[in-house]
């Protein structure tokens, strides 16, 4: 039976890609964030996952407003990265695991979720950069299943819905009849806002409460509506929904194996957590 070995959650801003390309990992500006991955990489060498299920939000590479899914699940044999408009270097393609994808889709539909299934799919920086942070040689040792949550077009699914989605996804992983070690990754946030007169908004206090809540009380964030969350953490800070869904895949209590929080990376409060049962 498949087993979730742990959940990694992280920020994913495009400029991480630039910093990697320019080898700035040890620059004082970037070091606090990149160093947060050192213990995660050590742990990965130990647990050796077979597959990564990566929950992220597409930023207008694979999806446009003509077909904008609330939840989407990849079911392709491979996933390519591509130019998003800024010329960040692309990364090598990722192997898929279509059999696992279909199993997860089946489980989600049975649990009354309504995913869009994607048998051909490009993955953007929100998928590729966290992978590059976990495996800097970009020689991916895992197969992958991309899972997208809409943060582009309101209405977004509520925090409560995203947590339930994560829980259903976790149950479907647990149900899979193959001997697989599964890493769940959730990418986005933490607080930031790129657009409007409030651009640059950051909310350290809320971010830290949110990070703590993932361990102590994952339902905590569900008391906030989407609008209330945006008010707290910014229009893009809402990407913390990915963290919530990823956390939801682990049933029962979890502990943090490592946790980093650093302001700023680019316009963003950068967070990293590694959780396991």
């Amino acid at each position: 039976m498949a087993k979730i070995v742990g959940v990694v959650t992280t920020s994913h801003v495009p400029s991480i890609g630039g910093a990697i390309a320019r080898h700035q990992e040890q620059d004082p500006y970037w070091k606090p964030f990149f160093d947060g991955f050192i213990p995660v990489r050590e742990w990965l060498k130990d647990v050796k996952p077979d597959v990564a299920v990566v929950i992220y939000n597409d930023h207008g590479l694979n999806f446009f407003l003509d077909k904008m899914p609330t939840f989407a699940v990849g079911a392709a044999p491979a996933y390519r990265n591509a130019d998003e408009g800024w010329g960040i270097p692309t990364v090598p393609p990722f192997a898929g695991d279509p059999a696992l994808s279909w199993h997860l889709i089946e489980g989600l539909v049975r649990a009354e979720f309504d995913p869009t299934t994607c048998q051909d799919m490009l993955v953007d920086h929100a998928f590729t950069l966290p992978m590059a942070l976990l495996w800097p040689d970009q020689n991916w040792p895992v197969r992958t299943v991309p899972v997208c949550i809409n943060t582009v077009q309101h209405p977004l699914p509520s925090a409560a819905r995203c947590l339930k989605f994560g829980r259903a996804l976790g149950r479907a992983i647990d149900d899979y009849d193959q001997d697989l070690r599964v890493l769940v990754v959730g990418t986005g946030g933490l607080s930031h806002q790129l657009d409007g007169k409030r651009a640059g908004h950051i909310n350290k206090e809320f971010d830290q409460k949110f990070m703590a809540s993932l361990l102590a009380d994952p339902d905590w964030a569900t008391r906030y509506s989407i609008a209330e969350l945006v008010a707290e953490v910014g229009t893009q800070g809402i990407e913390l929904l990915m963290w919530l869904a990823a956390r939801g895949t682990l049933a029962g209590p979890v502990r943090a194996l490592t946790s980093t929080y650093h302001i700023p990376i680019s316009n963003t409060a950068g967070g990293i957590m590694l959780m396991a049962a």
Partner: protein, 117 residues
Amino acid sequence: MSIAYPKPDIPGTTLFDGEQAMKGFALNKMCFSFNDAANRETFLKDEDAYCARFGLTSPQREAIRNRNVLELIAAGGNVYYLAKFAGIFKLDVQDLGAQQTGMTKDEFKAKLVAAGR
């Protein structure tokens, strides 16, 4: 238009909801096309022709001409797509933040650093 559910009011913030989407479709479609480097070049070669091809409204055309993010948002632009437009001019999200808040880029960066204390 009318949406019965209450619209939240968050200072300095525009949620990209159905109302914004209805206003912004042509603009966002054009910005989405900038994923492709060839399209970015075509735009730079003849900005007027490119905007006309996507049928931009006149506030959208004006906002594109002014490279003005707040105007682009007011005209229905979604920041996830606008970021690709900004990319053409090698503007990063801190350039955009500075422009929208009326700060210099250094002031904007300092504000972000201060938020960490």
